[in-house]
Every structure is written in structure tokens, then in C-alpha cells.
Symmetry: C2
Subunit: 284 residues, 2 copies
């Protein structure tokens, strides 16, 4: 029995209940990456895509790539067991050899794996949709970090502090140059005249796993889709939009800053298409 | 005897040789702040200013402010002893109560204090100056975080990886909107016609302690100084510039991307003025 919200299991470099070095560069600089993996009946959803993204992140940050087999084994071990779980994996550049930003190349990356209880969602959210607001805080633009699920997340922490109303499920964020980017913890798609449009993530934002799956599935069923530079005018024009994330899957937006939105045929078709992938009835 | 570069002492919440919780929000999100304090003969330089900046940071991030007396005691204990030391203090929002960005307000902040050996610098650097380059990576702009010494430092890690030539001491960084901001690990001042100009830090950058001291001392001796929006043209025009940080104090720039710079009367006067503050002969 664990306290509500506390993880059910923690592994540091594969060792249960390990602790972290105070020299951890993940702490001092946010020098690392993470993945949040939804698991059903011991099966991590879209595991291959998560491992691929982590490896892409390692290459971009020049963090030595962990053994894919070792990581997979640790994630499967954390996911094992009946029911629903969220497995969060952090991979950092490891403890610092000395003070300062410079890397030596001899760092030993740290793997931190956590298993959290994953409460059943209110099934009405997938049908009726989520109430969404617009965040005041703007995401900073850093092409070198854009797309990565890195550990520099203070902007998300501050943006999430902007609301405390449990009826609001997410806030959409613009960037410093007024581009629409994403939700605080999800990606966003607009549906316009039968076409999917999702923000281009060349300046900031996280290239979500479910975003990638939705783009792939849209291509399979012939729904036109594009990654594009979107702004407030695009958002204001939109009457149909939805959110995606590895945890929530796909959720329609029911209202945006109080304005009612609709859930149309494109969103419903993608929901039907994703359903077997999300329940584990088909392979992701 | 500690390995070269490893800290000589580590305290977690005042406890020697402590370890960190794997739930630490400082690790998961970089949700925290730090200070790097130069200490001479047991005396932390500019301690009051460091404590003030940390408190300002807590207020802006809504991290519960630690007891100033407790922090001061821990820093003095870490600084104690003969010779030179760098004391680094990290203050985070503490272990997460649950998964996700949201804060509960019930978090218990974590204090991490590290004491590092501080090698004697080459005295020629203060006289002849430092060779400096321009970084290719641009700092992202986030007014909500501007000025803070927070733990989201991946950009600095990547910028520091741009050069490996020990003869280069620092790299100057521009922001995504092409403003001159700072060095990777220092602030920068340009001297133009007897006037000091240092980048305004309203979009990004760290409001350095030594930057503040230099502005204060310049005012005392009647050197005009301004914080201003500076760009590449300002930098190209400058023939005299210097770097500041809590660790290096004030260092002239000897060359910028190979172009020779000069160290003029304003820089030398400020060096003379700072000398007693930096050696501990006068109170900061």
C-alpha cells in the first residue's frame, strides 16, 4: 500500500528503491530526458516508439545511448502485473565529475524508472471532451531543444499553476513569437475542412508519441494532415480540436476559454481507429 | 582526499552525505534554484546578496522560502575552514507528492549544499584578460524565468559543449530574438565612451551577483552605467568589454572571436575598486 500519488515502484539503474547522487546532472541542469508510458495488463503501449524517441533525444543531447534491451527489460519489469500503470523513465547524463556545465564524455548515464498507479479515467471525457483554457505563460523558443522530452520543465510547472479548477483539463500554450505550440501536457490538433493541422515543433514543444501515432493513423485512413506554423487566428477559427498524449490517448476539446467546440466526424473516426491500439487489442 | 573535481562535502537538508529522493521535482522538472558562492578563509563572499537572490527566486517560482538563518548556517558550515572553496546551494520545490507538473502547495523544499575545492586562478587572467568566442546556440526567451538562477540549464550545457579549447575561457550568447545576453557562465559589460552597458535581462539570462556589485560600485565612483537591449552591432563596435561572475569576479576580455580587445581605464578602475571586496579585505 502506497500513499496516494506516490509511486508503487522505483528503480535506479535497475536497482529497486535506489536513491540519487547529489551530483546528478539531471538535478543540477535538467541534463536528461524522460518518457511517460501508459501500461495495460503489463504491456507498455507504443514501447518501440518511446524507446526510439529516447534514443533520438540521446543523440541530440550527446548523452550515451543506453542499451535498448536493458531499458526494455526494465520498463517491462516495472509494467508487470495486472491492471493499469504509468511507467515514467528518466535518463540523465549521470553524476557530474566536476562542478560546472562542461561534460567530460566519461559520464555514466542514470536510468530512473518509476511505476505509478493509473486511475481509470472518467469515460465521459473521451465522449464529451475536455474543457480547455489558454495559458498566459508563453513557451520559450529553443530549436536545439525543440521536440525533445527533456528535463527542463519549469515553464510547464508555472503554466500548470495558472489554474486550479478541476473542471479544466488542459491549457493551450503559445510560444514567445506567438505560435500555437501545444497543451501543458499534451499535443493539440485542429480540424479544419476535413484536414488535420498540428503545430510544427521546430522551435519548442514536445514531439508526442500519440501525436506521431495520430499522424500515422490519419495517413492510413486518408485524412489529410499537416504540421504547420499556427497562431491565435488559426485557433480562433477552429471549431473542432482535440488533444493527444501517451496517457490520455485522444480527447476532444469540449470548450476553449468558455467557447463551445464541436466534435466532428474526423475526430470520431480517429478515436475509432485508435481504440484498439489504446486498449491493447492491436499492436501499436 | 577526494577525487579531482568531486565535492569535499555534501549536505542534504543539512545532513552530511545525504542522498536525494527519486521523486525530487528538482530532477523531474528542474523545479528549483541555485547559488554558487565563492568562499575565502571560511567567509562566503556576498552572502547577503546570494541569500536575497535565492529568496527573490523562491517568491517568483512560489517555492516556500527557507529560513534565512538556517540557510546561512548551512552555508557558513560548508564554507568553514582555511583556504578557498566554492559552495553551491540548490533549493528545489522538493519531492513530488504525485506524478505530473501540478503542485499541491504541501511540498517540502529540499536544500542541497556542496563544497568544492576552488583552485587558485592564473593571475594573468585578471591582467591580460580572457579569450572569448561567440556561441552558436541562442538562449530562449522566457520573461517568467528571466533573471532567475533556476535549474533549467540544458542550453548552457549544450553551449558549453561548443568548444573544447582550454585557451577559450567563455562564450558570449545571444537570445532567440538576437539580443546579446551574457556568457554561458558569466555576465558581460561593454565599455563605450566611458559608459558601462550590460544586457537588460528581462527576457532571459541570470541576474548575476557580481553584475549587481559592479553596477553598484560603478554608481559609487560615478561611472555611468545602463542596462540596455544590446545586439550584435553593439558587440561589434565594442573595443573594451569584461565578464563578471561570483567565481571569477571581474575579468577583462582579451579577444573576441580572435579580434583583439583592449582593457581601458574604466575596467581597471572597477578592478581596483572590487579588489578589496573580492579578497575579503572589505565587506561585500
Amino acid at each position: 500500500m502506497t500513499a496516494e500519488g506516490a509511486p508503487e515502484g522505483v528503480w535506479v539503474n535497475g536497482r529497486p528503491n535506489g536513491t540519487l547522487s547529489p551530483l546528478e546532472r539531471g538535478l543540477h541542469y535538467g541534463d536528461g530526458l524522460f518518457e511517460t508510458i501508459a501500461c495495460l495488463e503489463g504491456r507498455p503501449r507504443f514501447l518501440k516508439l518511446h524507446l526510439e524517441r529516447l534514443e533520438t533525444g540521446c543523440a541530440r543531447l550527446a548523452i550515451p545511448r543506453p542499451s535498448r534491451e536493458e531499458l526494455r527489460r526494465e520498463i517491462l519489469a516495472a509494467a508487470a502485473g495486472a491492471g493499469r500503470a504509468i511507467v515514467k523513465v528518466l535518463l540523465t547524463r549521470g553524476p557530474a565529475a566536476a562542478r560546472g556545465y562542461a561534460t567530460t564524455g566519461a559520464e555514466q548515464p542514470t536510468r530512473l524508472t518509476l511505476r505509478y498507479r493509473w486511475e481509470e479515467d472518467d469515460p465521459r471525457l473521451a465522449v464529451e471532451g475536455v474543457r480547455v483554457r489558454t495559458a498566459a505563460l508563453r513557451l520559450s523558443e529553443s530549436p536545439a531543444l525543440a521536440g525533445l522530452k527533456h528535463l527542463n520543465r519549469l515553464e510547464q510547472v508555472l503554466a500548470r499553476r495558472e489554474w486550479n479548477d478541476a473542471a479544466i483539463g488542459e491549457a493551450l500554450m503559445f510560444s514567445s513569437s506567438a505560435r500555437l505550440i501545444s497543451g501543458v501536457m499534451s499535443n493539440v490538433f485542429l480540424v479544419e475542412a476535413g484536414t488535420l493541422r498540428t503545430p510544427l515543433l521546430d522551435r519548442c514543444g514536445v514531439a508526442g508519441i500519440m501525436r506521431r501515432v495520430v499522424l500515422r493513423e490519419a495517413a492510413c485512413v486518408g485524412i489529410p494532415a499537416e504540421e504547420a506554423a499556427l497562431d491565435a487566428a488559426d485557433l480562433a477559427r477552429t471549431r473542432e480540436l482535440f488533444l493527444t498524449s501517451a496517457v490520455i490517448g485522444l480527447r476532444p476539446v469540449r470548450s476553449l476559454d468558455g467557447r463551445a467546440c464541436e466534435t466532428g466526424a474526423v475526430t470520431r473516426e480517429l478515436q475509432r481507429r485508435l481504440a484498439p491500439l489504446l486498449t491493447g487489442a492491436a499492436d501499436g
